[in-house]
Amino acid sequence: MRHMRYVAIVMLGIAAAAAGWQVLLGPHGLLANDASRVVTTFGTAGMGRGEFAYPRGLAVSPIDGRVFVVDKAARIQRFDSDGRYETEWRMPEWDNGKPTGLGVDRDNRVWVADTHYSRVIVFDRDGRELKRFGEPGEGDGQFLWPTTVAFDPDGNVFVGEYGGNDRINKFSPWPECRFIISFARGAVEEGGVSRPQGLAFDADGVLWVTDASNHRVSRYDRDGNYLGSFGVIGGGAGEFRYPYDVAVRSDQTLVISDYGNNRVVRVGRDGRTLGAWGREGRDVGCVLHAWSLDVGPNGRMYVLDSWNNRVQVVAW
């Protein structure tokens, strides 16, 4: 019986810690999440249809709003704008590693940054390969680790890359895809990037780049001239912790997936914070390391909630 006293002390200690945890962060706790903006979610962990194995890249067709997601099983899955599964295909090779980003152009072609094979592969929307370009190297038209693909209003193709040769490469429009220039070299200097993980163009043809390892967002004109940047490391307003992707809303404000802070931040074109959505967690309305996001033609924001293996569709 004398041991029961100590058993009770240990149990009380655990209960006290759990109660504190519950009061602060539980489903009805002080920091409970507001999921009211979430229209729907789709996807769960798995290797089946409509399931994800650590998805890392998402893009929405600017034409019909279809959603394309690439995951760590090297699969690209296509969903309609409401998240209903339509089809899928796999990358031709994946032993070296899997893609981390993709983009969809105005003709519904899917451009996948095949990161670990130092190339970009273009598919039609059903997964038929149309073209591939790029090879390992640091020269013109070569890549080390391409991250993602974006398109300016004229159809020029922009590819971000990292791995010691961090820069953005510009190629001519489909179908030539001829190398034009590379820019934003130089890691930490003003105008340089360190791991450009996400790219997006606004209606004025300004390129917005999430400069992930510098914890900031930079902008360039379509010729690669540096126009400025905003953001410092941190968790407050105007601060980012590894921003991974950026998308432009119809009102020309930006939404940025703040990977390390587990939230999506909405900012004006001047960098002023307009709001934030999401907090760290597994419930709807929470995110765990959002790698990517995009805005559909229906105005909804599609957030790739990577560690939760799902996409959250947010009306914001």
């Binding site: 655990i14 945890w21 399931e51 194995a53 070296n96 010691g164 390892s213 490391i233 941190g234």
Partner: protein
């Protein structure tokens, strides 16, 4: 006061042991009952049949082959690195010298393997003579990745053969060698007496290195090898999510790896047993021989081996000092980026250390019951948990926590799912064998005379435990707790599954591992450098404690045993 602390610690320790016993029994029984054929948790593709789960595809065979090749290379590499260090460790004299050498040796083992691999990959991509040498040696060739992975694992795991063999050499190898020298040539004495005397210890070390190598899911992916068994298991966890009982599926699916791990553990157990029986025969250096004498070449070789320990720090310091931003800014940015993860990891490491201390306290005894099998049963339980693939251990913890029917649903979330408690229990379960093993090893060297004397003086069993045994074993207890804490800080696989979202932060080792994959980044370098610091402090503290332990243990020199 001490009595209450010991009682509380022992109670907490036995509660943890009881919980884990129930948990592991639940998981294993459930796997046995459900069998290898999984059932779906939600509609979807039909589940695989039992034979599909158990059979090995061509890809599985390739994965196993690659895993075995890397593990074999890691064993060879770790022994090559350990050999000169063994001589230096066996020859070490004085508490300060022993602390320094043993601490330097243990340092890499307490450092996250991805951080060690990061240092080497940074060097290999530098535009320096060292980078050119590594490039010329074929570091960047695609086909060389398994060899490089094996080397990196060796650079992480070489402390295991170094520490075990140095103990064995001092205790059994040198006495046998010197005895044989009386009537044999040195080469014959070495091959017929010296080496056979430490064969068991060598087998134990090889088994442990092999086991840790096949469980490693950090180094091969950094070298872009996705298809080793442990790396692939992370994908299998995702695949298993659609099954009603994913842990059972994973257990059945990974039978080859569990079999290999059991073989490695069996070899280690066998070798360890041989070593102990031999130690009984020779009574630990009864010849009165001192340690071996170091010659010029062996000093140089040992310096090379110890250089491997400090190598990551040298690389990181070089990278930080040559970065285009001041070091203070780099550390500031890195700390700001990962401050929450650092705080959370330190808290969980400290809690895991407390669990380690509680487990160590739980298995000490007064000697009143000569046939007390509970401590050895506890050790067997934690060895079983250590042999289990870490991903399955993490997944099993989630399974158990999710199905804790005796806890009201409302409290599930806060007590089990996504709470620091689950994370702490998970890492403590993985490394709990360290404090228990250390204390039981030290206990073997202790006689029962002091406890008997206390009993004659009418001390109660609780008083003997607190004032005799706990005091006698305080160094192994603290060392075991420190080891558990350091290993918890560096742990990757269990933490990646159990670190709770929405808490102070996640696992720093996991966060750094993710950023390390993106290559050179001065902030990540600064944080990696910072993470080597607790490993170094932990290693030195453990070495200091064990080099002066009143009771002999694995690190103990025979001189102070007497």
């Amino acid at each position: 006061m001490l009595i209450h602390v010991v009682r509380l610690g022992r109670t907490a320790g036995w509660m943890l042991i009881l919980f884990l016993t129930c948990a592991i029994a639940f998981v294993l029984l459930r796997a046995a009952v459900t069998g290898p054929a999984p059932t779906l948790a939600r509609p979807g593709l039909p589940p695989p049949a039992a034979w599909e789960v158990l059979s090995l595809s061509a890809r599985d065979v390739r994965i196993i082959g690659k895993t075995l090749a890397i593990a074999g290379g890691a064993v060879v590499g770790s022994f090559l690195l350990a050999a000169p260090a063994v001589l230096a460790l066996a020859a070490a004299r004085g508490r300060l010298g022993r602390t320094l050498l043993y601490g330097l040796t243990a340092w890499p083992l307490l450092t996250p393997p991805s951080v060690i691999a990061y240092a080497w990959t940074l060097l290999a991509t530098q535009q320096s003579w060292a980078g050119h040498v590594l490039t010329a040696l074929g570091w960047h060739r695609t086909g060389a990745a398994p060899v490089v992975s094996a080397w990196l694992q060796a650079a992480w795991l070489w402390p295991i053969p170094a520490l075990i063999l140095s103990s064995a050499v001092r205790a059994w190898g040198l006495p046998a060698y010197r005895m044989a020298l009386l009537d044999a040539r040195p080469s014959v004495a070495l091959s017929r007496a010296g080496l056979p005397a430490v064969r068991g210890a060598g087998l134990a070390a090889a088994g442990i290195v092999f086991l840790l190598s096949i469980q490693d899911a950090a180094i091969p992916p950094i070298m872009l090898i996705q298809d080793t068994w442990s790396s692939d298991m992370l994908m299998e966890v995702t695949r298993a999510a659609r099954f009603a009982d994913s842990t059972s599926f994973l257990l059945w699916r990974s039978w080859p790896m569990i079999g290999l791990a059991a073989l490695a553990a069996g070899a280690a157990w066998l070798g360890w047993g041989r070593g102990w029986s031999r130690s009984g025969a020779t009574a630990a250096d009864e010849t009165g021989a001192s340690g071996p004498r170091m010659r010029g070449w062996s000093i140089a070789a040992a310096a090379l081996a110890f250089g491997v320990s400090v190598f990551p720090v040298i690389v990181f310091v070089g990278e930080v000092s040559s970065a285009d931003r001041p070091a203070r800014e780099l550390f500031g940015t890195g700390l700001t980026a990962h401050a929450r993860d650092f705080a959370a990891s330190l808290i969980v490491a400290a809690l895991a250390g407390l669990c380690g201390a509680a487990l160590a306290l739980a298995v000490i005894d007064t000697g009143a019951r000569p046939r007390n099998r509970r401590p050895r049963a506890a050790l067997a339980l934690f060895l079983l948990l250590a042999v289990m693939p870490p991903v399955i251990l993490g997944r099993a913890m989630i399974d158990v926590f999710d199905r804790a029917w005796f806890v009201p649903q409302r409290w599930h979330w806060s007590i089990y799912v996504d709470s620091p408690l689950a994370w702490t229990v998970g890492v403590a379960a993985r490394f709990g064998f360290l404090p228990i093993g250390l204390v039981l090893a030290a206990r073997r060297w202790l006689g029962d005379e002091t406890a008997e004397q206390a009993r004659v003086d009418r001390a109660t069993e609780d008083e003997i435990l607190a004032h005799v045994r706990a005091r006698q074993l305080v160094r192994p207890i603290v060392a075991g707790a420190l080891l558990t804490a350091c290993m918890a800080l560096a742990e990757l696989q269990v933490s990646s599954l159990l670190a709770p979202p929405g808490w102070i932060g996640g696992s720093l080792a996991v966060a750094l591992d993710q950023q390390i994959h993106f290559g050179r980044n001065a902030q990540v370098v600064a944080m990696s450098l910072l993470l080597t610091l607790p490993a170094m402090l932990g290693a030195m503290a453990v070495a200091w404690l064990m080099s002066g332990a009143a009771a002999g243990a694995a690190f103990k020199s025979p001189r102070s045993v007497r």
